[in-house]
C-alpha cells in the first residue's frame, strides 16, 4: 500500500489485462458481463467507455475499486493495477483506503448518493476526515467552501448548511463532484453523470468536468452511452459491446472514422443539427451478429 513509491511517474495509472466479470445465478449458468477486456490509462489521461445499456461499462468501472458485490459477482484478471496496487489482491480494509482517496466515483443519480438528512457540509467533511488528514478540523469549512466554489456553486458558504433536497439536481451533482474531488483522487470515474439531468445542465456538468480535468491534471474515466458529449472531456474512447471492447482510439479519430460496425451504428444514432437527414437510425443487431 505504499502508493507512489511502487509506481514510477511514467507507469500507467490504471492497467487492466484480460478482465472478466461473471455474475452467478441461482440454478443457471453464470452471466458473463465482461469478457476479457484490456485497458491502460496514463496519468492525466482520460478515456470514455461508450456503449449501450448492458454492454458492461458500469460493471467494468465498478470493478476498478471492487465495488461489485462478490458474490454474486466474480472478478478475474491477469493484471489489474491502480497506481501500482494490485486491486484483486487487496483486502476490504486496503480497498477502503483507496476508495475515495485514489479512485473516486460520481454516479448517475445524485439524489440517491447523498444522505437526505445530513447537510452538505457534514457529508463533504466526512470525506475530508477520511482521506485528507492534512486538513485540520478547523480548516475543513474553508476547504469545503473552496471546492464548492471550484465546482461552480454560488454562495457556497451559505450552502454549507443546506440539505440535499434544498438543491436542484444540477447543484446536487456539483456537490457530488466536489465531494469526489476534495480528496484529490488520481482517478475520477464518472458513471453517466449527466443522464438524470436536463440538457442544459448536462452541458454545464460536462464543461465543468473538462475544466477540472485541465486544472487538476487528473485522469477521468467517463462512462456514457452518448457519443455526442464526450469530445470536450476525454482524449480516448473505448467502445464496448456485449462485454467486449470492440474499438478504441483517440476520440476525434473514432468519431471521424469509425471502424467497427457497432461504433458506426452508435454514431448514426446521435441526432445532429443542420440539414434534414433521413430517419434517425436504430442499431441493426442482425448485421452485428453476422
Amino acid at each position: 500500500m505504499s502508493a507512489d513509491a511502487t509506481s514510477p511517474k511514467d507507469a500507467p495509472l490504471l492497467c487492466i489485462r484480460d478482465l472478466q466479470i461473471e455474475f452467478s445465478r441461482h440454478d443457471a449458468e453464470p452471466v458473463k458481463a465482461v469478457k476479457g477486456i484490456s485497458l491502460e490509462l496514463k496519468r492525466g489521461e482520460s478515456i470514455a467507455l461508450v456503449g449501450e445499456s448492458g454492454s458492461g461499462k458500469s460493471a467494468t468501472a465498478l470493478s476498478f475499486a471492487r465495488l461489485l458485490p462478490e458474490p454474486p459477482a466474480s472478478i478475474t484478471a491477469r493484471q489489474m493495477t491502480l497506481n501500482g496496487h494490485e486491486i484483486l489482491e487487496m483486502n476490504e480494509r486496503e480497498l477502503r483506503a483507496i476508495r475515495g482517496k485514489e479512485i473516486a466515483y460520481i454516479f448517475q443519480e445524485p439524489t440517491t448518493s447523498l444522505n437526505p438528512v445530513l447537510t452538505i457540509r457534514t457529508q463533504i467533511a466526512e470525506a475530508l476526515a477520511l482521506h485528507r488528514p492534512d486538513v485540520s478540523k478547523a480548516g475543513r469549512d474553508d476547504e469545503i467552501v473552496k471546492w464548492l466554489d471550484k465546482v461552480g456553486i454560488v454562495d457556497s458558504r451559505k450552502r454549507l448548511h443546506a440539505y440535499p433536497h434544498e438543491l436542484s439536481g444540477g447543484m446536487q451533482q456539483r456537490v457530488m463532484i466536489a465531494m469526489a474531488l476534495c480528496t484529490q483522487p488520481k482517478l475520477l470515474i464518472a458513471d453517466e453523470p449527466t443522464t438524470a439531468l436536463d440538457v442544459t445542465i448536462q452541458k454545464q456538468i460536462m464543461d465543468l468536468l473538462a475544466q477540472l480535468r485541465r486544472d487538476l491534471d487528473m485522469s477521468i474515466i467517463l462512462i456514457t452511452h452518448n457519443l455526442g458529449i464526450i469530445r470536450s472531456v476525454v482524449d480516448r474512447v473505448a467502445v464496448m459491446f456485449r462485454g467486449e471492447i470492440v474499438e478504441t482510439g483517440p476520440v476525434d479519430e473514432v468519431i471521424r472514422n469509425p471502424q467497427h460496425p457497432y461504433t458506426k451504428a452508435l454514431l448514426a444514432c446521435v441526432p445532429r443539427m443542420g440539414p434534414k437527414l433521413p430517419r434517425l437510425q436504430a442499431i441493426d443487431y442482425a448485421v452485428l451478429d453476422a
Binding site: 465495488l67 482517496k101 466515483y105
Partner: protein
C-alpha cells in the same frame, strides 16, 4: 394492541393534543356520571403521594423506552448487516414478542425471577436492611432495582415492536451503500451514521405511537408487580369502577403521554405532520380510554363493542394514510390517457388493491382485538364472564384478580403460558397474513 399496524404520521402539536384529549375525556366521564370538579380534585388529594406515583411511572416509562430503543437498534442493525434472511427472522421474532399479552410477560417474569431463580423484586418483597446499612449506595441500589424491574418487563413488548420498526422502516430509507462504499466510508459509519440518521425521524414517530399503548402495558405491569406508581393506583380504581378515579386517570394519563411525547420531540429529525380529522382522532390513547369506559359501564356482552371501536379508531390513521398514499401513487395515467372510464379504471386497477387492503385491515383488526381482550381481562377480570364459553376458557388464566389466583398461577404457570402462547400465536399469524396481503408500492 400493538403498533404493528401501518406507519402513520402524527398530527401537529401532538403533546398538546394528548394533554387536551385526556382532560376532555376526563370531563366527559365526570359529566356522564353527574359529578363535579370538586369530586375530581378531592380524589386527587385523597391519593397518597399522587405526584410521586406519576413521577415514578414516568421514570419507568422513560427507562423502558430507552432500553427498548437501544436493544431494538442493536438487534435491527446487526440483523441488517447479517443479510435479508436474518433480518426477516429477527423482524418476525420481534413481532412475536410484541404479540405476547403483557400480563403473561409480567407474571412470567415474577414466576421466573422469583419462583425459579429465587431473586428479589423490590416492589413485591421489600427487603429489610439493618439500620446500619443505610448508606447512599444501598438506597440507590434499592431505588434503581425498584424502577428497573417494571422497566425491564415493559421494555420487552416495546423492544419487540421497535425491532419490527427498525427493520420495517430500515427498508424504507434510502440505500446509500454503493455511494458510501465508493467513498471509502467504513461499514460502522455506513450503519450508525448514515442509516441511523435516516431511521431516527421514523423511529421517533414509532416511539410516540408506542407511548399510546405503553400506558396500558404500564398499568398491567405495575399492577402485577405492585409497583407504587400511577398504573398500580389506576388498576385499583378501574377494578373499583370509581368514576372520579377513572377521570383522574384519564387526565393524568394525558399529562404523562404529553410529557413523554414532548421529550421524544428532542430526538433529531423532523417528519411532515399529518393533517386531517382521521390523524387527529386516531393519535389518542383509545385503548386506555376504552378500558376506563369498560370499568364504568355495566357488565354486558355489548361492552366489548367499546373495545372493538377503540381498536378500529386507533389503527385508522395508519390505514387511511396507506390508502391515500397508494391512491396517489398508483400508476393509472396510461389508462386515463386512452380514455378509460373511471369505473373501468376502478375495476381494473383500484378494486384489487382495495380488496387486499381491506383483507389486511380485517386481519390486523382481529389480531389487535385478541390482544386488547387479553389486556381488558387482565385489568377487569369480571369481563371474562361476558365472553362466550370457548373464549372465556382461553382468557380466564389471564384474569389474575385475587391472591389465590396469583398463588395458583405462580405454583403452576402452564395454564397462563398456554393461554398467552395461543393468543400470541393467533395474533402473530393474523398480523403476518395482514402483512402478506397488504399492497405495497415499490
Amino acid at each position: 394492541m400493538t403498533s404493528l399496524q401501518p406507519f402513520s404520521l402524527p398530527p401537529r402539536w401532538l403533546p398538546l393534543r394528548l394533554l387536551l384529549g385526556g382532560v376532555i375525556v376526563a370531563l366527559v366521564v365526570l359529566l356522564a356520571k353527574h359529578q363535579n370538579l370538586n369530586v375530581f380534585f378531592s380524589c386527587a388529594a385523597s391519593v397518597p403521594d399522587f405526584g410521586g406515583r406519576c413521577g415514578s411511572s414516568l421514570i419507568v416509562l422513560a427507562l423502558a423506552l430507552s432500553l427498548a430503543l437501544c436493544i431494538a437498534l442493536i438487534l435491527g442493525l446487526s440483523a441488517r448487516q447479517l443479510g435479508p434472511r436474518v433480518e426477516l427472522l429477527v423482524a418476525v421474532l420481534g413481532r412475536a414478542l410484541a404479540c405476547v399479552p403483557v400480563v403473561v410477560l409480567a407474571w412470567g417474569f415474577i414466576s421466573g425471577w422469583i419462583g425459579r431463580l429465587g431473586l428479589p423484586v423490590e416492589s413485591l418483597m421489600p427487603s429489610l436492611f439493618p439500620d446500619t446499612q443505610d448508606s447512599r449506595q444501598v438506597l440507590l441500589a434499592r431505588a434503581l432495582w425498584g424502577f428497573l424491574a417494571p422497566a425491564l418487563v415493559l421494555a420487552l413488548p416495546l423492544c419487540g415492536e421497535l425491532t419490527h420498526g427498525v427493520i420495517a422502516d430500515g427498508s424504507a430509507t434510502m440505500n446509500l451503500d454503493l455511494s458510501l462504499r465508493a467513498r471509502g466510508v467504513p461499514t460502522g459509519a455506513q450503519l450508525w451514521r448514515h442509516h441511523l440518521s435516516q431511521l431516527l425521524p421514523l423511529l421517533r414517530v414509532r416511539l410516540q405511537s408506542l407511548c399510546l399503548n405503553a400506558l396500558v402495558y404500564l398499568i398491567i405491569i405495575e399492577d402485577a408487580l405492585h409497583f407504587m406508581g400511577w398504573g398500580d393506583w389506576l388498576a385499583q380504581s378501574l377494578r373499583a369502577g370509581d368514576a372520579a378515579g377513572v377521570a383522574l386517570g384519564f387526565a393524568s394519563g394525558g399529562v404523562l403521554l404529553s410529557l413523554l411525547c414532548a421529550g421524544l420531540q428532542l430526538l433529531p429529525g423532523r417528519l411532515k405532520s399529518a393533517g386531517g380529522f382521521v390523524a387527529t382522532l386516531a393519535w389518542q390513547p383509545w385503548l386506555f380510554w376504552a378500558l376506563g369506559l369498560l370499568a364504568l359501564l355495566p357488565a354486558s356482552s355489548l361492552s366489548w363493542l367499546v373495545l372493538w371501536v377503540a381498536v378500529l379508531v386507533s389503527g385508522s390513521a395508519g390505514w387511511h394514510q396507506t390508502w391515500n398514499h397508494i391512491e396517489a401513487e398508483l400508476p393509472v395515467e396510461a389508462a386515463r390517457v386512452f380514455g378509460a372510464p373511471e369505473l373501468l379504471i376502478w375495476r381494473n386497477h383500484f378494486a384489487v388493491v382495495q380488496c387486499r387492503l381491506l383483507m389486511a385491515w380485517i386481519c390486523s383488526a382481529f389480531a389487535h382485538t385478541l390482544l386488547c381482550i387479553a389486556a381488558a381481562c387482565a385489568l377487569l377480570p369480571r369481563l371474562v364472564e361476558e365472553l362466550n364459553e370457548p373464549l372465556a376458557k382461553i382468557y380466564r388464566p389471564l384474569a389474575i384478580a385475587t391472591v389465590q389466583d396469583a398463588a395458583q398461577t405462580l405454583a403452576d404457570p402452564s395454564a397462563l403460558l398456554q393461554s398467552g402462547g395461543g393468543i400470541a400465536l393467533a395474533a402473530l399469524c393474523l398480523i403476518q397474513v395482514s402483512r402478506i396481503v397488504q399492497p405495497r408500492l415499490s
